[in-house]
Structures are given as structure tokens and as C-alpha cells.
């Protein structure tokens, strides 16, 4: 293990992760280019996203070599964001239903210089 606070590692590991990030970015771009839809599209986007984020944090930001006290202090708190995301998803659905009930379907037509909705 590297000395504390001194993150010196072989160059090859950075180069490999670099290549890997390029490959993952290309793959996530191809998800759109090929035109996958629905759950296949969303799960592929999330898989590539988390893989890229993981490699950047673990290797480029050296989190893999830090002590567990720092790892937990930094990576733990963002977990509570899942609560916020869950609540906001539920709330978004509720607002959708309310708008459908009170305003009905939208009469929006995509064309240049259309006047935006009042709400």
C-alpha cells in the first residue's frame, strides 16, 4: 500500500483506465446512435454511467487507496440523495396526474415561435 497521502502508482494503471473510459463513453454514445429504446436503453445508460463514475472515483481520484474513514465520509452522505430522488419521482407523478385531471391533454404543437403554456 502507498504511504498515506502519497498516491504514487504505476503509469500503466492510469493509461488502462483512460482507454477503458474511452471505450465506455463510446458504448454509451452508441446506445443513442443505435437507437435502443425503453428499459434496455435506460439500463445500458445507467450501467455505463456507473462504471465510468466508479473508475474515475476509484482510480483517477485515488479513492481505492484511501483509508476507509475518508471513503465512508465522502461516499456515504450522497446515499441519502436516493430519498430525495424517490420523493421527487413520486411528487412528479402526482403533479402529472393532477395536471391531466384539471387541464386535460396538452394542445401543444411543435412549431417555430409558438406561445408557451401559461402554466
Amino acid at each position: 500500500m502507498a504511504a498515506e497521502g502519497h498516491q504514487e502508482h504505476p503509469l500503466s494503471i492510469y493509461l488502462w483506465i483512460w482507454v477503458l473510459l474511452f471505450v465506455l463513453s463510446t458504448l454509451s454514445y452508441l446506445v443513442d446512435y443505435v437507437g435502443f429504446e425503453g428499459y434496455l436503453r435506460w439500463s445500458l445508460i445507467l450501467i455505463f454511467m456507473f462504471a465510468k463514475a466508479g473508475f474515475i472515483i476509484a482510480i483517477f481520484m485515488h479513492m481505492a487507496w484511501e483509508r476507509i474513514a475518508l471513503i465512508y465520509a465522502i461516499l456515504g452522505p450522497p446515499v441519502v440523495l436516493l430519498v430525495l430522488i424517490g420523493l421527487m419521482a413520486v411528487e412528479g407523478d402526482y403533479v402529472t396526474m393532477t395536471r391531466l385531471d384539471f387541464f386535460g391533454e396538452t394542445d401543444f404543437v411543435a412549431e417555430p415561435h409558438v406561445v408557451e403554456e401559461a402554466h
Binding site: A3, E4, G5, H6, Q7, E8, H9, L11, Y14, I17, W18, L21, F22, S25, S28, Y29, V31, D32, Y33, I45, L46, M49, K52, A53, I56, I57, I59, F60, M61, E66, R67, I68, A69, L70, Y72, A73, I74, P77, P78, L81, L84, I85, M88, E91, G92, V95, T96, R99, L100, F103, E105, T106, F108, A110, E111, P112, H113, V114, E116, E117
Partner: protein, 231 residues
Amino acid sequence: MASDITESGAAVAASPQGFQSLTDDWAADKQTFQVPWGKAMMWIFLLSDTFIFSCFLTSYMNVRISTQVPWPNPSEVFALSFGGDPIPLILIAIMTFVLITSSGTMALAVNYGYRQDRAKTAALMFITAAFGATFVGMQAFEWTKLIVDEGIRPWGNPLGAAQFGSTFFMITGFHGAHVSIGVIYLAVVALKVLKGDYEASGNYEIVEITGLYWHFVDLVWVFIFAFFYLW
């Protein structure tokens, strides 16, 4: 830089690993994080920044779920044509590669910093800053295209949901500001490295701290790319 604060390595080496080290580090009457204070503070700043960007992306999710107007298709909005048929999302893909390339050169700069290779460290940091500036330039081009050609405004647009514009300008604008500040930060530190400000102490920790910020900017882009452009 009081390097003596960081020299508690001897005591750490003998302490337990794994979960035992977590309780030891937090419970004992001593410094919790066995890293230089600058690095710990940068991590805590990045943690707070994580919450800011998460709030933006969560509110984007919320308005995209609740709007009654169709969401503009990012694949088409951000398509570019080089003479032939428009290629979907191509500008965003190039921006992604530019930012990843800059992340790679930054990682190498940190490595050469620890080898105390002053010239290579500064050169790689300047290259990183140049890629960052390229990214911001491409973003300026993207914004110009959307505002001038497509008529997209924060309060509405002719393609669909008004929230598309507001979330787009808010999220990419905030990220672009981070990249711009990062370019300045990188240039300042690279100049100091080049001048030899860290030669006497031999402590190139500042390069890694700058690198943490830069990798974080790349990290945020990974999430924006996935949720805003690809979803």
C-alpha cells in the same frame, strides 16, 4: 504547507485495517483523516458540490416527469451536420471525449508531480487546461446554436416543454462555470509548479488536490451526459 502535520504516517502504519480502522480513526482522540488537510477539505467541498448538482438533476427529473408538453428529443436537438446527414449528439460526444482526455492528462500530471518532475507536471497541467478551454469553447458554440438558431430560451422553446430550456441552461451553465474555474485553477497551479514554488519542500500534494477538482468536473459530466443528453 506544514508538512509535519502529514507526517503521522508512522503511527498509521501500525494501526488496524478494515472496519476496525474506521472506528479507531473516528473514536480516538486524534486526527480523523490521515491525509493532508488540503486534500480532506477539497473532498468535503466536492461532497457539497455533489449535493448541488444532485439537486439540479433531481429537479430536472421532477419537471421532466410532470410536464404535459412533449420533451424535445436531445438526440435531434444536439445533432450536427458536417455536409451530409445530421449525426445525432455528435458535438456532445466530442465534448465528452475532450473532457475524458483532459482527465487522463490530469492523472498523469499528478503522477509526475509525485515523481517531482517539474517540467512534465506543468506541461501536462497546461495541456489539461487547454482541453478544458476547448470544452468550454464547444459549449459556447452549442449554446449559441441553441439560442440563436433554435430559439431555445430558459422560459420556453418552439420544440416542446419549456422546462427543457430552463434545466438545460441551469445544469450545463453551472457545469461550464465549474470547468472555466477549473481552467483558471489549473493554470495558476501549473505556473507555480513551473516557477519551482514546490521545489524546496518537494511537496506536490497541491497537484493532486487540483486533480481531484478536475476529475470531479469530469465526473459530473458523466451524469449530465447520461441523464440530460442520453435519457
